[in-house]
């Protein structure tokens, strides 16, 4: 797959694009994390985070594919930053030096910040009840209409609309009242 095809696939949340990235770059991330005091599980966790961060930034238009940019470099840089942040949490105040096999790196600090904001919200979502999580997932992730959601949940369209509003309000309230640890 070319970078353009992968980029378009990520925007469409296409399984083939994610599968390709996983198969192609799994070893690269595994090696980076393992060479920098992480385990295989850490590496897979970071890789998953990196892929979600990549989707989030591409979807929000924070990252665009240009002539001189490579998606592999972008993914590597995101995973690297996420791993550094994780190490900093475990060892606060310590200087962290990453041993890199890749000299080609991108500055993704701003983008990591954007992603952290989304990640914080994502964590608050898990506090919602299951019905709320399901409804919001159907509406925002699966792009189902309120009519279809109402049908699948055996409720009226008006109830679906009201429930969606309540779920969004609860999410906002959890987000605004989150603890320092969740920031």
């Amino acid at each position: 797959m070319t970078d353009q095809e992968i980029y378009a696939g990520i925007l469409r949340k296409d399984n083939a694009a994610f599968t390709y990235l996983y198969n192609e770059y799994r070893r690269m991330i595994l090696s980076m994390v393992q060479k920098n005091s992480g385990s295989e599980d850490d590496a897979m966790d970071i890789f998953q985070e990196g892929l979600v961060a990549m989707w989030t930034n591409i979807t929000q238009g924070k990252f665009e594919l240009k002539e001189n940019t490579r998606l592999s470099t972008y993914l590597y840089s995101l995973c690297r930053n996420i791993w550094i942040s994780r190490l900093r949490k475990v060892k606060p105040g310590m200087t962290i030096e990453i041993k890199d096999e890749h000299s080609d790196l991108m500055d993704v600090d701003d983008q990591e910040e954007q992603y952290t904001l989304i990640r914080t919200l994502e964590k608050q979502l898990l506090k919602l009840n299951e019905a709320c999580q399901q409804l919001l997932k159907q509406f925002y992730y699966e792009k189902s209409s309120l009519k279809d959601i109402a049908l699948s949940m055996n409720i009226t369209e008006k109830t679906a609309k009201n429930n969606k509003y309540r779920c969004m309000q609860s999410l906002r309230s959890y987000y605004e009242n989150r603890t320092d640890d969740e920031r």
Binding site: A16, M44, V52, T56, I118, L121, E122, F139, Y165
Partner: protein
């Protein structure tokens, strides 16, 4: 923000109304700090989507691991045989290779592998898929895990779902799993569906099914049908293969 406010903002984010229309709504309904409210709803929506993408990626990763574990456990542990066995085996291989070169007309892999067409599968997009079962089955097809795609697509058919998409991917999976007779039945279903987008690919896979079953007349009949359609996407390949079969 009330129920309608969020609804209108969502309509704007999804491109159903313009910013001017949303601004007009905001003015008449005293909705203040519109930009900030749009940003909040957009972020919340992306967070929900991100969680869905996270689940999707997790599934892909565990499936990929399952496939790699299955491949590893299926590996044969080799034992070093005595030299005389190696000698006999080597002679047998030479005889077998000679046989295949001179008498191997019916050997599919040897003769027709170059004409095989492996369908890459449809791009599977969860958010655009109304049917999770199909999405799930096609994900396995895309990963070339045909055993599981056969299981899942057959189960869908057994439950009454009967579309040309299911027939095509079930037929292709069966063919790739060396079950050409069962594959033929499914691919024939595709040809019986008027104006199916899978017709041309199904016609070509039927050629492969016939060859795998050593049914050369059947293969020629399918090939003739393709050759007669000059705009068929497999026209060139069909012409070449038909010529090869006619020469033998």
């Amino acid at each position: 923000m009330n129920v309608e406010d969020i609804q209108k903002i969502d309509e704007y984010i999804q491109g159903e109304i313009t910013f001017d229309e949303l601004s007009a709504y905001a003015q008449t309904h005293n909705l203040e700090d519109l930009e900030e409210k749009i940003a909040w709803v957009r972020r919340a929506g992306i967070a929900v989507e991100a969680q869905g993408v996270r689940d999707q990626i997790q599934q892909i990763m565990s499936r990929a691991d399952e496939v790699s574990t299955a491949k590893q456990t299926g590996r044969v542990i080799s034992m070093k045989p005595p030299k005389w066995i190696i000698g006999i085996a080597a002679s047998a291989l030479i005889v077998l290779a000679g046989y295949l070169v001179f008498f191997g007309e019916n050997n599919y892999d040897n003769q027709f592998a170059a004409y095989e067409y492996v369908d890459p599968g449809l791009p599977v997009v969860m958010s655009q898929s109304d049917n999770y079962a199909l999405y799930d089955a096609l994900s396995y097809f895309g990963e070339e895990n045909y055993k599981v795609s056969i299981e899942k697509l057959s189960a869908m058919q057994a439950e009454g779902a009967d579309t040309d998409t299911i027939s095509f991917y079930l037929g292709a999976s069966l063919l790739y799993e060396d079950q050409p007779e069962s594959a033929q039945r499914q691919l024939q279903n595709v040809l019986d569906t008027p104006s199916s987008k899978f017709t041309e690919k199904a016609e070509w896979l039927l050629v492969m099914c016939a060859l795998k079953s050593d049914d050369v007349p059947g293969a020629k009949s399918h090939l003739n049908s393709i050759v007669n359609q000059t705009d068929h996407s497999f026209h060139g390949k069909a012409k070449e293969l038909l010529g090869k079969l006619n020469r033998e």
